[in-house]
């Protein structure tokens, strides 16, 4: 950016703009009304008494919103902007096999407000992707939103016949999955390394902020005196060798890998003692930077693992997990759960309660009216009546509901899709269920069964899940049709509409690596989520407490 003579970058906040001797100010924003208010504030405060007037520009990501412009106009600042443009950024690459639109509210918009804008963007993103990587010949999908996206893609293709490109297709199949087909998975606590980091500390745009205590540099003399108070910020992606190896492992398997690595590294450092000849020493020195990087990465992850271990070994975490696992394996889902009651009585965070109650509801195809009313009453009495609005939202999204049909479909779904595995091998997994230590994410199971033996075998269950399932084909010019070599893997792009968890990603990566799998997966989504962020996105924005 410096090359383009960008003086400074600021994060958006209300009030006066920080002083900088520049003529042009550019706002990079998502088209959201709250942000517009901040910008308005910025501009209004700015205009007063500055001799060299600044020029304002605004760039909307991923696109211009007429609503936002209207809003700015009403605030009387639209005219202050010289340029109003859009920066069409639909899918942001997060990792080699992961794309995200990073729109937090996609799920809420689709399912609560029936606003399909994010789907439109998803479809656009997919079109861009196809323009770059070739037309995807097969599209499968499950769910209402998936259907919409597929329709839009086909429409867009028809409307721009010129887009027929001659790129050899990279992807064989596109699988569109609605989040509401599988509401269960995000509610459960993820048990992979990366999943846990996200659950506990929250990964934002591949960065995580950690409490600094464990990372204090060990200095001689005054140890512990000047602990850094800023949280430690670390980037997490597969570029880091060690992280790539452990991110998708069950947390219980991470410890042994770390200790093995530690041994290897210290052995490597030991080698210098054996280096006799100049050549050997030279070779050793040339490896040093690499080894040093490996060592610091090991140190970081050991610290993170320790932090997580403190939490996973706590009684509360264990109790919570036990209840989750009971629900998912179908035990006692139809009565008021004692642990949940206790948590409410002790005023545990509301989101935790909601996650558990929703989980129970989903695992029971809805709660009995009496049970539901009981939970509702307890929650409202303990956390405040205004949460009636949040509960209402959850009901609308189908996360929390009274059992209406009188029949509980979940056991059938669980059995047919083998969602619960009793014998889980956490160290050397043989099934995707390792990511939740027993529960195999429904969404990923659907992807797995699609590849083999195909969805026809589970027709019955698919009917029980919400939304239609469908298959579309996009004709390719004959020259581009793939002649598949023996042993070559098929590549499937799985698009999660409404968000995906790290554990699900781990499960898909696991499937990609399976030797006899024959399918590689690339993942795209509207947003990386976990149960907490997800529920939060559905909660009613309440006024902050007065103190």
């Amino acid at each position: 950016l410096q090359e383009h003579e960008v003086e400074k970058m600021f994060t958006l906040k209300p009030g006066r703009l920080p002083p900088a001797d520049v003529k042009n100010v550019i706002f990079f924003v998502r088209p959201r009304l709250e942000l517009m208010d901040i910008i308005t504030d910025n501009v209004l405060k700015e205009d007063r008494g500055r001799s060299p007037q600044r020029d304002f520009h605004i760039l909307f990501v991923p696109r211009r919103s007429l609503l936002c412009e209207q809003w700015l106009k009403e605030q009387g600042v639209l005219g202050s902007f010289i340029h109003r443009e859009q920066y069409s950024l639909d899918l942001i690459p997060f990792d080699g096999d992961l794309l995200s639109m990073e729109s937090e509210s996609a799920f809420k918009e689709c399912y609560l407000e029936s606003d399909q804008t994010s789907l439109y963007h998803a479809a656009k993103g997919l079109m861009t992707l196809q323009a770059l990587y070739g037309t995807i010949p097969q599209i499968f999908g499950k769910g209402e939103c998936a259907r919409h996206v597929a329709n839009m893609m086909i429409r867009m293709k028809r409307e721009f016949p010129g887009s027929q490109n001659s790129i050899f297709p990279v992807f064989d199949t596109l699988l569109l999955l609605d989040r509401n087909v599988d509401l269960l998975t995000p509610l459960a606590t993820q048990l992979t390394y990366e999943g846990l980091i996200d659950e506990i500390y929250g990964i934002q745009n591949t960065y995580v902020k950690l409490p600094p205590e464990k990372f204090a540099p060990k200095k001689q003399g005054e140890g512990g005196k000047d602990l850094p108070t800023e949280p430690k910020k670390l980037q997490l992606n597969s570029a880091e060798e060690l992280y790539a190896e452990i991110r998708d492992k069950n947390f219980n398997a991470v410890g042994s890998v770390l200790s093995k690595k530690a041994k290897i590294i210290s052995a490597a450092f030991e080698e210098r003692h054996h280096a006799k000849t100049v050549g050997e020493i030279k070779q050793f020195v040339s490896q040093l930077p690499h080894m040093q990087a490996a060592r610091s990465s090991l140190a970081n992850h050991t610290s993170i693992a320790e932090l997580i271990k403190d939490i996973t070994t706590s009684e509360d975490f264990f109790d919570n997990l036990t209840v989750e696992q009971e629900f998912m394996s179908g035990i006692d889902t139809d009565k008021v759960n004692n642990y949940i009651e206790d948590c409410i009585a002790q005023k545990h965070p509301l989101i935790k309660i909601l996650r558990l109650v929703c989980l129970q509801s989903v695992c029971n195809s809805g709660l009995k009216q009496k049970v539901l009313d009981h939970y509702k009453r307890e929650i409202l009495q303990t956390y405040g009546y205004e949460h009636i609005l949040t509960l209402n939202n959850l009901e609308k999204a189908g996360l929390l509901k009274p059992q209406t049909s009188g029949r509980n479909n979940y056991p059938t779904i669980r059995k047919t899709l083998r969602l619960w595995m009793d014998d889980v091998n956490e160290q050397n997994p043989n099934d995707i269920s390792y990511v939740y230590s027993g529960y195999a994410p429904l969404s990923v199971r659907l992807a797995q069964l699609l590849a083999r033996p195909g969805w026809r075998s589970i027709e019955e269950v698919l009917k029980m899940l919400p939304g239609p399932h469908f298959e579309e084909r996009q004709q390719l010019p004959t020259g581009l049709q793939k002649k598949r070599q023996q042993g070559e893997n098929r590549v499937t792009l799985v698009f999660f509409l409404g968000g995906v968890t790290y554990a699900e990603i781990a499960a898909l990566r696991f499937l990609s690596q399976m030797e006899d799998g024959g399918t590689e997966y690339v993942i795209a989504t509207t947003k990386l989520i976990n149960g907490t962020t997800w529920i939060k996105s559905l909660m009613e924005k309440l006024e902050p407490a007065p103190f």
Partner: protein
Amino acid sequence: MSRARADEEEYWHSSKFRAFTFDDEDDELSQLKESKRAVNSLRDIVDDDDDDLERVSWSGEPVGSISWSIKETASSSTSSLEGRDSSLQKGSSSYAALPKQVSSYSLSNLFKGRNKLPSFQSLSDALSDIGVKNYAPELRRSKAEYKDYSSDWSPKDTIRRMQRGKVCSLERFRSLQDKLVLLDEAVAGHDGNVITAVLIFLKRTLRREILFRELEVRQVALCHLIHFLKETGEQKLLLDLLRFLDRTEEVALSQYREHLNIQDVEKRREFLKSCIGLPFSAEDTSHIQDHYTLLERQIIIEANDRHLETAGQSEIFRKYPRKASILNMPLVTTLFYSCFYHYSEAEGTFSSPTNLKKTFKIPDKQYMLTALAARAKLRAWDDVDALFTTKNWLGYTKKKAPIGFHRVVEILQRNNAPVQVLQEYVRLVEDVETRLNLATKYKCHDVAIETYRDLKDRIQLTAYKCKVERGSAEEEKINSILNNT
């Protein structure tokens, strides 16, 4: 000259569709004259018997420069002429550049006139309502048939352009029919941004009833409008819409949501009171009722306690000054508060815990936990004791805790209860294993030792010896038990 003009006027009035020969007079006629002619031609386009048009005076308008009016009228003549007779090559080509200049101002002018109107369903309606000046440019467009005009897109094209982020003016779509087509196209595009833009336009230009009626059969658009209204806080219109759709529960919830924006407690209370009668589901109604009662109660308590606190008379407030006001706190917090400050009050007072329990039907468990936590915090162990003591009809006292004594122990421990108090409750834990665990954890040695004694577990008891202090009474106790058996 003037005669010729008069002739010509007559000529114009006489027939709509006769082409006139421009060529002859072109050189001698001034531009002004042309404009006059154009005005006349306008009349043909509109209805012949539309008397309103007689009021038009082009020169009298606050137009500023005369050239403006020339452009305006000239361009309208272009369009009208062209629409009628394609043989008029010369005329149209000479004016070809004009419409562009005009288009920059025309619509914004129009707009002012537009708001005065509730709605208009067709062109002829509109014509009888507003002055000509406002719609003159409009006429040019709606009647014009030239397709090459730079912004004259069909609804479909308009939507597509908007999807690509280009600016389009929607004001051209004037009839209800056109607007609905536009909306349907937008919906078909699934782009919420565009749908919302079209909806804003419709909202501004259509009468409410019509807008609501049309949206009722267009669910997707409807959802977008509801979302939009929520987002921008147009509460009144939103409620009207929901009411129109008979979505009563949503009306209720959305109205209830409003209370969050009310800062003043008294006003908030009043508002909540007005919410009680709203058509919530049966279950929610009782919650809303409770919410109101709670706030009402909190206001009374707050006023009372603030007075007590400032007066400095009451010991409890002096010893434990309140950290925050009780207003708008959840029910359980309120209960805790009242257990803390008003524990011993008679049931009749609003602030007494028992009164709260009764009014809000707080379950026993919940009440116990809250009271326990509050009293333990005050280290009022007698109250804690009393909480679990029940007398049966024979007069024997018995300890009972619906929440389980292990929970009681945990809560007490968290409030740093002394061992003497703790062990009394550890002893009451029924499950032997839990009891032993708790006893060991919180150093209630007596309980642990007695439990092992009852279990006749010599090995464990011997092992326990290392956990007590050497030479203490507990060690002696263990030794004596070991020796006696």
